[in-house]
């Protein structure tokens, strides 16, 4: 089939356009700041647009990683480097409102600050690093009982008020809260290691504490496995529950009663916990990502994350040339994974920025003036108003402006237009080939 179409292929000329070497980074979390710094260090002008009033993103609420690294000094360092960099302009309170132009020369408009004053930025590369948000689920008496917290809140208690942790005798953690459910089938990826991180930190402060982790599947991928082992050695009790019979929770004054079925004992166990920690994970910020996807015309996954052009071949590229994605805007990730991806984006973007022109491929429509009847159908059909009737009285399509959709081709009654790379004879050759096999 493919061969039949290649036989009909004609020599093509790539369209090249000059490239504007400015970069727009949307989102000022760890990923956005990392990409911005890498690119600015190479001497490119970066505009970093952040929706909120400060940089840092979700990681501002994380104090330590599983490996024990301090996150806050790292973020503070990133923020000051970004703010002081001569090639980075930080725009906080920025809401992206419009976008136009073509690859290599984009124009993005935003409304800034409480006055909503409008500003337009010209850029050739766009990095989307808009992150994800803590899952706002309210299961298991999270709102009504003080002893119930998310893992993020627990992490804060451990870091800020360790004396509270000394008073906890029994701690229960429930995994997969609001993740891997019918409403949100996605795995949040970070929760297994977060539970282990918090459990080990609790035992560090209060070695006598009894910790139960109620899980559906533990996935401490890579070297995280060592910490899982360590947690088991230190006596953390891991109990599997099934999605059909989740633990039940009953607030009891300052404490909370958690009842679950132990598969080995085959019976129900009730623990009166001083703290119940829910691994609520993260979800895509649907409002934000849906709006950006509409403005920039980018695809998203069913869960609302931005979808890369190809999982294996182009993992940080988006389908529009010059668009890249980094961090949790793409899928749930640990901080170090977000940083790796942000660095990958900077490297990919530089392969474009190192050149003076951008290569757009050859898929542009071409008019055969001998066949053209100047009926104006293409002029009316084109969603981008590219075809025009030239001085000779025939339709003409500027290949540099053509987006390559082929709508004029299918509408043209005289068949005077062909879309290069997708010519009619190539499509028909594929059809013929399929049926040659089938009908043989």
């Amino acid at each position: 089939m493919a061969v039949a179409s290649v036989i009909k292929a004609q020599p093509l000329v790539d369209q090249t356009l000059p490239i504007n070497k400015n970069i727009l980074v949307v989102g000022g979390g760890i990923s956005g700041m990392t990409s911005a710094l890498r690119l600015a260090d190479q001497g490119f002008q970066v505009y970093l647009a952040e929706k909120s009033n400060e940089l840092g993103g979700v990681a501002k609420n994380i104090f330590k990683t599983l490996e024990g690294d301090d996150v806050q000094p790292f973020i503070a360092g990133l923020i000051s480097q970004v703010k002081e960099h001569e090639y980075i302009q930080v725009i906080t309170g920025a809401i992206i409102v419009d976008h136009s132009g073509m690859p290599g020369m984009f124009k993005t408009g935003m409304q800034i600050g409480p006055q909503m004053f409008y500003r337009q930025i010209n850029h050739g590369v766009t990095v989307l690093a808009t992150g994800a948000i803590p899952n706002p689920t309210k299961e298991y008496a999270l709102e009504s009982c003080k002893a119930v917290r998310t893992q993020l809140e627990t992490h804060k208690v451990i870091a800020k008020t360790p004396d509270t942790v000394k008073e906890w005798d029994n701690i229960v953690m429930i995994q997969c809260v609001g993740s891997r459910t019918a409403d949100n089938p996605n795995c949040s990826r970070i929760c297994c290691q977060t539970a282990i991180k918090n459990a080990l930190a609790i035992l560090e402060i209060n070695p006598k504490a009894r910790i139960f982790v109620l899980y559906r599947d533990m996935r401490t991928y890579g070297f995280q496995e060592e910490y899982y082992q360590k947690a088991r050695e230190k006596g953390v009790i891991f109990v599997k529950y099934s999605q059909d019979t989740p633990p039940t929770v009953k607030p009891e004054g300052e404490q909370v009663e958690v009842t679950f079925t132990d598969a080995i004992l085959g019976q129900k166990i009730t623990v009166t916990a001083d703290s119940l920690c829910l691994s609520t994970g993260l979800i895509a910020d649907n409002d934000s990502s849906e709006e950006l996807a509409m403005i920039f015309k980018l695809p998203r996954t069913a869960d609302g994350y931005f979808l890369e052009d190809h999982v294996k071949l182009r993992p940080v590229d988006l389908p529009v040339p010059g668009f890249f994605v980094a961090g949790t805007a793409h899928s749930p990730k640990l901080i170090k994974e977000s940083i790796s991806q942000a660095n990958a984006v900077a490297a990919r973007a530089q392969t474009m920025l190192a050149r003076d022109s951008i290569n757009l491929g050859a898929a542009a429509a071409r008019v055969d003036s001998k066949l053209c009847a100047s009926c104006l159908i293409c002029v009316r059909t084109c969603p981008f108003d590219v075809p025009f009737i030239n001085a000779d009285g025939y339709s003409e399509i500027d290949p540099a402006k053509c987006h390559g959709c082929g709508m004029c081709v299918s509408e043209c009654p005289a068949k005077a237009i062909q879309l290069m790379q997708f010519e009619d004879d190539k499509i028909l050759a594929q059809l013929e080939e399929i049926f040659e096999k089938v009908n043989a």
Binding site: S410, L428, I434
Partner: protein, 140 residues
Amino acid sequence: MENFEPVIIAFCCHYCAYTAADMAGSQRLPYPANVKIIRIPCSGKVDALHIIKAFENGADGVYVAGCLEGDCHFKNGNEKAARRITYVRNYLEEIGIESERLMMVTMSAGMGYRFAQTATEITEKIRKLGPSPIKIAIAQ
């Protein structure tokens, strides 16, 4: 025509259904081999001619898979495609081919599951309809 295996042509838009097919692959979702995919840059590029040629050659079913409403990469190619499909369906009825054999479906690039499910459902639907009148005529 015993052991009838329908042949179905799927014109898939590069920005949605074609990527969704990739997604179905990486999610290890099976779909019937009866569906033969032809990649196009936009569902609005599918010509009435291509559809008719597919039937003429013996296709039992044809579908055009474009982006979700409002999501077209080129503004409105999917709407244009839907209108054209309605037109060609009427034409098919006129020449004695069941219009159910031609369909327009929409999905987004992330919908690997929907791609596999659509391919399976359409194959089953066409299998029930039986071989297309043209295919029967070719066989005789």
